[in-house]
């Protein structure tokens, strides 16, 4: 007999997790595709019935996104320009069906190198919030994701949400995805970028590249090089190949490593250009 538990609260959920080895299921958009033609015999903790984990709220110094927030919620919620990149990424997650069911936490916990949600959240300096019977704690998202489909989520923990610090300056963001077709495409390369504008100059900039390493990567060296630069067209020319050295793309059916590196450079340049356009 397999278990299928539907807790109503985080407390109930973590209690169940402390007692059983359970597969945490939310939108189901990664669970079922991995089981085509296979038995559905996992012990399941369906957390979609937990109240209070869905939605985006503004708090003192940060924004909070609940774990069960659907991609459609992100698209439909009025948010500052700071979230433009996340909204663009939300539109690229599968089709509308997937956006309606899939949750932001599910996308992160699945930890695919091509997860659309990870680069924008990295570029937003996101902390992930986890809960267990041992209590609640948070850590930077970059630390949480350890590798291809590997995270620091302990077997007794669930993700409850994401904390996104408010920017220090007026900010905007973008997201670019490269795939071989328009919809329902796993990216070859994607880039998320955020800029905070301080007196006409780059106050802070954060750029993350996905699908080019086992996990999406922030380009810290490039970010440091761009801070203080004037917000003006041509900023993309400051991006050089060496700024992408920390990427470790692989060859697969979607593209060669060499191509990914080349395309990432183009997309990063375009992304930073977009950030300064019309500013």
């Amino acid at each position: 007999m397999t278990l299928y538990l539907q807790p109503k609260s985080v407390d109930e959920a973590v209690q169940a997790l402390s007692e059983n080895n359970l597969f945490v299921l939310a939108g189901g958009t990664d669970y079922y595709p991995a089981r085509v033609g296979k038995p559905l015999d996992d012990n399941i903790l369906d957390i979609t019935g937990i109240t209070g984990l869905r939605g985006i709220s503004e708090r003192d110094d940060h924004f909070h996104i609940g774990a069960l927030t659907r991609w459609t919620d992100i698209i439909e919620t009025a948010l500052p320009n700071y979230f433009n990149g996340l909204k663009l990424a939300a539109r690229e997650v599968g089709g509308v069906q997937i956006q309606n069911a899939g949750t932001i936490a599910g996308n992160i916990c699945n930890a695919s190198p091509a997860a659309d949600g990870i680069p924008p959240l990295l570029s937003l300096n996101t902390d992930i919030v986890l809960a267990s019977t041992r209590g609640e704690h948070s850590m930077p998202l970059a630390k949480f994701i350890m590798g291809n489909r590997k995270t620091r989520c302990a077997s007794d923990e669930i993700v409850t949400g994401f904390r996104i610090p408010k920017p220090d300056h007026p900010a905007t963001s973008t997201f670019l995805k490269l795939g071989a077709r328009k919809y329902l495409v796993i990216s070859i390369v994607m880039v998320a970028a955020v800029v905070e504008i301080d007196n006409g100059n780059v106050g802070a900039i954060r750029i993350a590249v996905g699908s080019c390493s086992a996990t999406a990567k922030r380009l810290h060296m490039l970010e440091r090089a761009l801070v203080g630069q004037p917000i003006a067209a041509g900023i993309g020319d400051l991006v050089s190949e060496s700024h992408l050295n920390q990427l470790a793309p692989i060859d697969d059916v979607r593209g060669s490593a060499e191509y990914r590196r080349d395309a990432a450079l183009t997309l990063v340049r375009r992304a930073v250009e977009e950030l300064v356009a019309d500013k």
Binding site: Y4, T29, D46, G95, A180, V185
Partner: protein, 910 residues
């Protein structure tokens, strides 16, 4: 088990099921709401889209537990008081449904959109429906339907007058059931007591195996009724589409030649079959070295696939005309190039599915198929039965494109149902469908074309190798068809075209829309562009100069009586000039995103190659006055259920809406041949016309009037009118035959073909379809991505039986051609699902302008020729021409994915 309560189309519904069960499976299997289709069970195709609390979701990804307390809306709930709602009506009238398998998902996604946005833009439609794949329509008519919602008049549908059905834009006669969810496909119905069958398949490309003791697993799973092995095959354990080649086993006998080959079949109740993992079966494998790709399978020391196929060579094909060396000596411009294409997946959204039952000493198989009679004959051999003791009852077919010609579920369910004397059903899941079923042949082509200074083609040399995978399937057809079509639709005095098909330990390559011609078209039309450039002649005009004309001879020496390529090119000339100029204008100021316009041409012999491929059709008249067409021409979405009726109506002289249809059941319809090779409009269209004329002739003779008389079909009577004379025939006075009819007309047509001699000379086809297409593309130079901006397609169809169906075929063919050109490559073992294997989505298919050219074929019904395959073949060459115009890169490898194009752009600039 958990009790789940939800509202289904507004009605409170309760189920008691496993909470993790997919909503799609509950709807279909537990509640009988089969309007919701399953294409992949993985959220990749959107066929199962329903609305959950108003929002579109893939019901294959929703645990039924999450539906508790929710509102679920399915296609069955759209109709209002039994009538189509506005959206369904628009889909029906605008031709938005072809095979119809994706239609419920499209409708549900669209209804979600329209509830939120009553006046959507084209982009809104793309975004909202982008999660649903369609393989037939190229999406254009779906967009039209939604944007023109409520404007039924603009669809220009007519209900034709008597004698005016052929050529009329009549709505699909089976269209309503495709938009209201009542159409029944292969997986939709089976008796409640049917057992389920699942084939366990080889995980290795090449291996020997032995089977252990089945008793432990049978004990573990009481619901496992039987495990079928090769020993359970009552007749010959082999199938194959040629009468003398039955090389593919239904269940392997100790040796497998590809990953995905069926080894044993589990039969039992649904839950048991779903619970058993393949690796629980006692099969011990000894993997062997597999030979794959081009080269290794034909190496001297390569392991052999089949004892009777030395060197892993299947066969060679040749077409020889004139003297190519003399031709090249006479040429001023000569170009040689090599080309490569990969496996391509059919990607029909309906997986293989069907069920069988034993009825006395006969076996009946209800199945999705393109070829009921071939199924019948194949199953008869496998079962050791007479063909008459096998009955094939086709369901609606949710897409075929050549992939539903070979045997898949048919022999498996037949063997099981026969042995167990219980109904047995089987539905392939997407992974096994992709791993097991046939693909387009990968090709390696080297070709050399020469022309004179004034651009006249002089000589063509072509060598094409085709990987037919582990089994013959349609490999012989491809190796025959390719050299015949190798030159392209041009007049060439000197030709040497040779093909070879070889075996490999890969997925069998079989029939796929074009049978090798799309691969050959990439080669010949790339060379056409090169010669045009060299001679300084516009690429379109270069083709116009060389377009084969009526009265000219093909490479096989066949004199053509219908050849409309020159007219196709003339139709495109205006768009061509405008688009080329616009592209060049654009490029004058843009270096990073460059436009280009290319042209591609094709031809395609309608029907099977140099063999008899007749069609027989009947039209019956009962004593009550009911007129019925008995058609064996399977509708696979292309619309033969409508076009055959149009031909029958005009052949007989009856109103289209007075005619009934029985389609495909081998107990009631005669053999119309396969729905493949673009043959039904031409071959079966003729047979239907003749059947109508035969019945009409019988009636006129009964009334003793001349051919000029008209017939009014009434209840129980006919009124025959000629001038002032009117005669009434009381049908009840006529003797009734055993099939309950008083009169029956028969039509038979076999295309006039001749065998080819040792040089490939002869008349392989009765007629040929022709086409030219132009593609306007935008290339992102820095990323290597290609966006097709617009396409214009001109097709010579001889005579359009129904323009909406012709346009639909063109749109769908263009979409598949675009996929072949830019994104589709099936990599065995790596892209066996619909997220790694990419087919075009909404937003990938541009506006398509169609020009229907009618150069009548004297032997065609009203002049008609085929359109199914011609629609696809010219698209990739046109796109590749556009890429060259934009970038200067000559694409020689399909698909031209972003990484390949970017590399080519960089190496060109280096």
């Amino acid at each position: 088990m958990t009790e789940v309560n939800f509202s289904l189309n507004g009605k409170e519904t309760k189920v008691d099921v496993e909470p993790v069960r997919r909503l799609a499976h509950v709807l279909r299997d537990d509640l009988g709401f089969t309007g919701t289709k399953i294409g992949c069970d993985a959220g990749d195709c959107g066929a199962c889209t329903v609305r959950l609390d108003g929002r579109q979701v893939c019901s294959c990804l929703v645990p039924i537990a999450q539906a508790n307390g929710a509102a679920v809306d399915t296609v069955e709930g759209l109709s209002e008081n039994g009538a189509l709602n506005d959206l369904q009506e628009a889909f029906h009238l605008y031709g938005a449904a072809q095979c119809g398998i994706c239609t419920p998902g499209m409708l549900m996604a669209a209804s979600d959109l329209l509830d939120r946005n009553s006046n959507p833009s084209e982009d809104d439609v793309y975004d909202a429906l982008g999660g649903v794949l369609c393989r037939c329509t190229g999406y254009r008519k779906i967009v039209d339907a939604i944007l023109n919602l409520g404007d039924t008049a603009a669809a220009n549908i007519i209900e034709p007058e008597i004698g005016e059905a052929v050529g009329a834009r009549a709505a699909k006669l089976d269209g309503e059931q495709k938009v209201n969810g009542t159409e029944i496909y292969g997986a939709d119905e089976a008796p409640p007591d049917a057992l389920w069958l699942h084939a366990v398949r080889s995980p290795y490309w090449r291996a020997t195996f032995s089977l252990g003791d089945f008793e432990p697993i049978k004990e573990k799973y009481p619901g496992l009724v039987d495990i079928l092995t090769a020993e359970d095959v009552p007749g010959l354990n082999g199938f194959g589409i040629y009468p003398d080649v039955k090389d593919q086993p239904v269940l392997a006998e100790g040796f497998v030649r590809y990953r995905g080959e069926a080894v044993v079949a589990l039969v039992g109740d649904a839950d048991t079959i779903a619970a058993i993992r393949d690796d629980e079966l006692p099969i011990s494998w000894q993997e062997q070295e597999a030979v794959q790709g081009f080269g290794p399978p034909v190496a001297d020391d390569a392991p052999q696939l089949h004892d009777d196929r030395p060197g892993n060579i299947l066969a060679n094909g040749t077409t020889l005309k004139g003297d190519i060396e003399k031709g090249f000596a006479d040429s001023a411009a000569i170009f040689e190039e090599s080309f490569a294409t990969g496996f391509v997946e059919h990607g029909y959204i309906e997986p293989e599915a069907g069920w069988a039952q034993r009825v006395g000493d006969r076996i009946e198989i209800t199945v999705t198929t393109q070829s009921p009679y071939m199924d019948r004959d194949e199953v008869a051999i496998i079962m050791g039965l007479a063909p008459e003791d096998v009955r094939i009852i086709p369901t609606a077919c949710g897409g075929g494109f050549g992939g539903k010609l070979d045997q898949t579920v048919q022999p498996l369910v037949a063997i099981a149902a026969w042995k167990l004397n219980r109904p047995v059903r089987c539905t392939f899941n997407r992974l096994e469908s992709m791993a097991a079923s046939t693909k387009r042949h990968p090709s390696r082509i080297t070709a050399r074309y020469g022309c004179s200074n004034d651009g006249k083609l002089q000589s063509y040399e072509f060598n094409g190798d085709f990987n037919t995978g582990a089994y013959v399937s349609w490999g012989l057809t491809v190796k025959d068809r390719v050299p015949i079509h190798a030159t392209g639709p041009y007049f060439v005095p000197n030709v040497r075209a040779e093909s070879q098909a070889f075996f490999s330990n890969e997925t069998p390559a079989g029939a796929f829309r074009g049978f090798g011609v799309p691969q050959a078209a990439i080669a010949h039309d790339s060379l056409m562009d090169m010669m045009a450039e060299k001679t300084g002649i516009d690429p379109l005009e270069f083709r116009h100069i060389n377009a084969i004309r009526k009265g000219q001879e093909t490479a096989t020496g066949q004199k053509l009586e219908s050849a409309g390529l020159d007219q196709c090119l003339e139709a495109l000339r205006g768009d061509w000039k405008t688009w080329r100029a616009e592209a060049e204008n654009h490029n004058a100021t843009n270096t990073k995103r460059r436009r280009g316009v290319g042209v591609g041409c094709m031809w395609y012999g309608c029907g099977n190659t140099s063999i008899a491929n007749p069609s027989t059709m009947h039209i019956g008249l009962t004593g009550e006055g009911i007129v019925t067409l008995y058609s064996g021409a399977q509708d696979i979405g292309q619309g033969t259920n409508t076009t055959m009726m149009q031909a029958a109506a005009d052949g007989l002289g009856i109103a289209l809406n007075q005619l009934n249809l029985v389609c495909g059941d081998t107990d009631f319809t005669a053999d119309a041949g396969k729905s493949s090779a673009s043959r039904q409009a031409y071959v079966s269209g003729n047979a239907v016309k003749l059947a109508g004329e035969d019945l009409r002739g019988q009636i006129l003779r009964l009334a003793n009037v001349s051919e000029n008389a008209s017939i009014e079909f009434g209840t129980g009577k006919l009124v025959v009118q000629e001038g002032d004379t009117s005669r009434e025939i009381d049908l009840s006075t006529l003797p009734t035959t055993e099939n309950g009819e008083v009169l029956r007309g028969e039509g038979y047509f076999d295309p006039p073909t001749e065998p080819l001699d040792e040089n490939g000379q002869g008349k392989p086809y009765g007629t040929y379809g022709f086409a030219a297409q132009i593609a306007d593309v935008e290339v992102d130079i820095e990323l290597g991505t290609v966006k097709v901006v617009r396409i214009a397609a001109a097709h010579d169809v001889g005579q359009s039986l129904n323009p909406q169906q012709v346009e639909g075929q063109i749109h769908g063919g263009v979409a598949q051609g675009l996929g072949l050109a830019l994104m589709e490559e099936y990599i065995p073992g790596r892209t066996e699902n619909l997220h790694d294997y990419l087919m075009p989505t909404f937003g990938d298919i541009p506006d398509i302008k169609t020009y229907i050219i009618e150069d009548p074929e004297p032997t065609g019904p009203w002049g008609a020729k085929g359109i199914g395959e011609p629609a696809l073949c010219a698209t990739a060459p046109a796109i590749f021409g556009g890429i060259h115009h934009a970038t200067g890169v000559r694409v020689t490898h399909a698909p031209c994915t972003p990484d390949k194009l970017r590399a080519a752009i960089l190496s060109k600039d280096a």
